[in-house]
Symmetry: C2
Subunit: 154 residues, 2 copies
């Protein structure tokens, strides 16, 4: 692939891997963007919806940390979702600085409508890999992701 940069073989391998990872992500995101469009949902909005659905109501800084985004970004995306009635901010008992983000009934309905098809789609895509290969990939990504996140404060 890369022919111009004369790095050593370790560097070449890492670079190749990096490019593949980014490309795979982009392919997935392109597909998703298209699918969610009918529901007026963007990928970041879906990420928040999905996280709240699975983990329950969360404070904003927890969302920011889980989704690896800045506080300001989360505020903005939530503003949009609040306006379209998907989430609501409720006072946090015991800490008056903070809110807890809840799905509204509409938000819950939306994610429950989308999710089965979404998961089925994901499953089909990942069906390119056998069960054992998926387990392998899972372990490799966990190892890698943990290392990356620990290597820098974020």
């Amino acid at each position: 692939m890369a022919t111009k940069y004369q790095g050593n073989s370790e560097e070449k391998r890492a670079l190749d891997l990096f490019i593949k990872l980014m490309r795979t992500h982009d392919s997935l995101e392109n597909k998703l963007r298209h699918e969610f469009r009918d529901f007026k949902l963007t990928p970041p909005q879906f990420g928040i919806l999905e996280t709240l659905y699975h983990l329950g109501p969360l404070q904003q800084h927890v969302l920011a940390s889980k989704l690896l985004k800045s506080a300001g970004n989360i505020t903005r995306v939530l503003d949009g979702m609040q306006e379209s009635g998907l989430i609501e901010r409720r006072a946090e008992p015991g800490d008056r600085r903070s809110f807890r983000i809840h799905l509204t009934p509409k938000g819950k309905k939306t994610i429950e409508k989308i999710f089965p098809d979404f998961v089925a789609g994901i499953r089909t895509l990942f069906g390119a890999l056998a069960a054992g290969e998926q387990e392998q990939l899972n372990q490799l990504l966990r190892k890698l992701g943990t290392h990356i996140r620990h290597s820098y404060k974020e």
Copy 2:
């Protein structure tokens, strides 16, 4: 991870994998955004710089296709890069509809300045995985990425 959605085990595995992949990508991109900032470069700009550096001058539609972006998006990002003097559009001999995108000396200098550190950084990050594991990951991602891209027109 996900406890609420009662999908079957294949679906759960695929979903888990999906989330890990997205997260790993986001971690990497966050790091890059931070690193490139000193050079006034965004991740998409770096992607174009790197692609042109390694593959040589390309037409815009080729760039769009390689980077999985829309034509309009590439036009806009190139506009910005042209304004900051990183690339130039040269007439394509034999097809007057088209341009060929070249790195300017400044663009070349920029990528050559950044690239060694960038690759070294990538290598360190991926150093969490042994050589064999990296090869595994590489193969899995290739298989997966190809399948995703073929499963839909793009």
